[in-house]
């Protein structure tokens, strides 16, 4: 068997056949989890829209007869409120399409995302204490070792090269200051 899409005589350009021949693009099946996730998203958008509308009204739709700072937020908030409800209803009715991008992460994927998020949070905290070059080196080391599962030595070399290299490039080369350490002994060695 060979696949050769037909060109109908009625649509010599071939464009017409694209319309008729494949009317039902393949999606992932809509699971209960996906439906619930959409319902939650719809509910959150509704809440956000409601909050924004209330905030807009409190800011004032008009000031001295001209449109005030609350007019636009009220319009946008109302739109979000209506769309949130629409999404919730569509999700509840199961009228959803689901692309391949929405595949649920596997166990290893969840682990990597959690490690990345935690490492980034720690990095933000460490940045204020030990300064950019050390914090970034440790951060890249953590990502390479625990997310990328590379060897310690290899990870350490890449991390130090990136951490100190980017610090030198931006701080010294481009003149963009990066955070220094708050600890006196690190400050004393130029970090």
């Amino acid at each position: 068997m060979s696949f050769e899409p037909s060109t109908s005589p009625e649509s010599p350009s071939g464009v017409g056949e694209l319309i008729d021949e494949f009317a039902d693009p393949e999606n992932l099946p809509v699971t209960t989890g996906y439906r619930i996730a959409n319902q939650v998203a719809g509910a959150l958008v509704t809440l956000l829209g409601g909050g924004m509308t209330a905030g807009g009204l409190s800011l004032g739709l008009t000031i001295a007869g001209v449109p005030g700072p609350g007019l636009f937020p009220t319009i946008i908030g109302s739109g979000m409120f209506a769309l949130g409800i629409t999404l919730f209803v569509l999700a509840s009715m199961g009228r959803l399409d689901r692309s391949f991008d929405t595949e649920v992460p596997d166990r290893a994927g969840v682990r990597r995302i959690i490690i990345t998020s935690v490492a980034t949070g720690v990095f933000l905290w460490a940045l204020l204490w030990i300064g950019y070059p050390l914090a970034m080196s440790l951060y890249v080391l953590a990502l390479l070792r625990f997310v990328g599962e590379r060897k310690w030595l290899n990870s350490a070399i890449i991390a130090v090269v990136f951490g100190f290299g980017s610090w030198a490039g931006f701080s010294l080369g481009l003149g963009l200051p990066l955070p220094g350490s708050a600890l006196p002994f690190l400050q004393s060695i130029g970090l």
Binding site: F3, N38, P67, Y139, V147
Partner: protein
Amino acid sequence: MDTFGQLMAGFSAVLSWENLLLAFIGCVLGMLVGILPGFGPAAAVAILLPVTFALGPVPAIIMLAAILYGASYGGTITAVLLNVPGETSSVATTIDGYQMAKRGRAGAALTIAAIGSFVGCIVGLIGFVVAAPLSRFALAFGPTEFFALTILGLSLVIGLAGKSIVKALISALFGLAIGMVGLDPLTGVPRFTFDQAPLLDGINFIAVVMGLFGVSELLATVDHSSKFGRALPVGKIWPTRTDFRRSVGPILRGAPLGFFFGLLPGSPGAATSFASYAIEKAVSKRKSEFGKGAIEGVAGPETANNSLAIAGMIPLFTLGVPTSATTAILMGAFIVNGLLPGPLLFQNNPDIAWTIIASMFVGNVILLILNIPLVRVWVAFLKTPFPVLFAVVFGFMILGAYTLDGSVFNIGVLLIFGVLGYLMRKIDIPLAPMALTIVLGDLMESNLRRALAISRGDAAVFIESPISLTLLIIAAVAIVASIVGRQLGQRAAARKLLAERADTAVAEEKA
């Protein structure tokens, strides 16, 4: 000075060794990020934006434009060698490009794609030069007309919609909502700042798009344990004489096709390249080769999508309205560098505008020169272990977010929007409308309020102005056209899926 004279002045400004070097570096960096599987031009520009901060406005935009087309070509490399398109407009290229690669003809496919891309860009740029003076008409615009223009921009959201228009509109309104955080532009009243001082200046657009497109892409890439496929060998680089002969027609047809599609607001790249593919197949004498490695199937779509990318910049430069996520990010870059794209750019800074346009010609020549001999180098980069790229790109984005204004707050914004973008992907809420409306929001609101203030609250002002009325009608037409284009794109994608299935079935039957 006339248009040609201004363009020549632009060329003389851009042909300094500093600008040429920046265009060269931009092409290389864009290409390096563009060949990361899944990273399109929008992500590449967002990620590499911080590199340009210390350069000044003109060199920064020259470099970013080079990053943009470098990344576009990077996406073509992965489409041909890995069957992984860097952006939706490269999907059509995977059909025959990957088949050519499987037959050891990746080099020929990539070279023809490079030549087609070059021709597409040059045709797009010539159209750009012709269209640029039209920006003078926009000088007659007042708040009413500008508001209608932003509505036209908002109508593009339909073109950027993924599976659901409702979700695209949610994304768009969310972008407008984010743009409202901070001090009200007209009265100075704090809005939605929750008494947090860093929010008074608003949420930094660049940090938001870096998170939405960069961080979320990285998270999506590592959320499965499966690995990317191995790149196929490049084979002989230079195409045969027959390849060239067969590619001339598709390139010449693809360039104007892409340009005119690009002028239509909200034209999705995928629909354009598939339209080119369908036309090439329809006019070809070798229809049976399509889907099995026909060079016309690479030449036409690649030319069309690059011509479209350049044409898509015309509304940004002449009217100040971005038409895609990538041009929205580029507009952010203009603003960060103290420039406002639109009619006033040509009025107040014609030297800057024409230097940037001239740099695009030069950048594309550099890209063509780089592409063909260095194809094997780019392919070697594909062999860099992904964990290393992941860690380094992540680190680089954090660094970039910090350097936006020397604030750790922006790193937080980057991460929050990265996670948000990841979650939005997981429920099929498209990211591009949000990027577009964050940029448009301020323009839309301030013009709406000014127009209503002038008309003393009478909303009829928007249909009483002929220009405004025309723009609103065009917006309505654009919405209808986008919906039709979207349907075409979806069906064309389905066609590819069926073709792949049929190929698999053939292979299994033969086995």
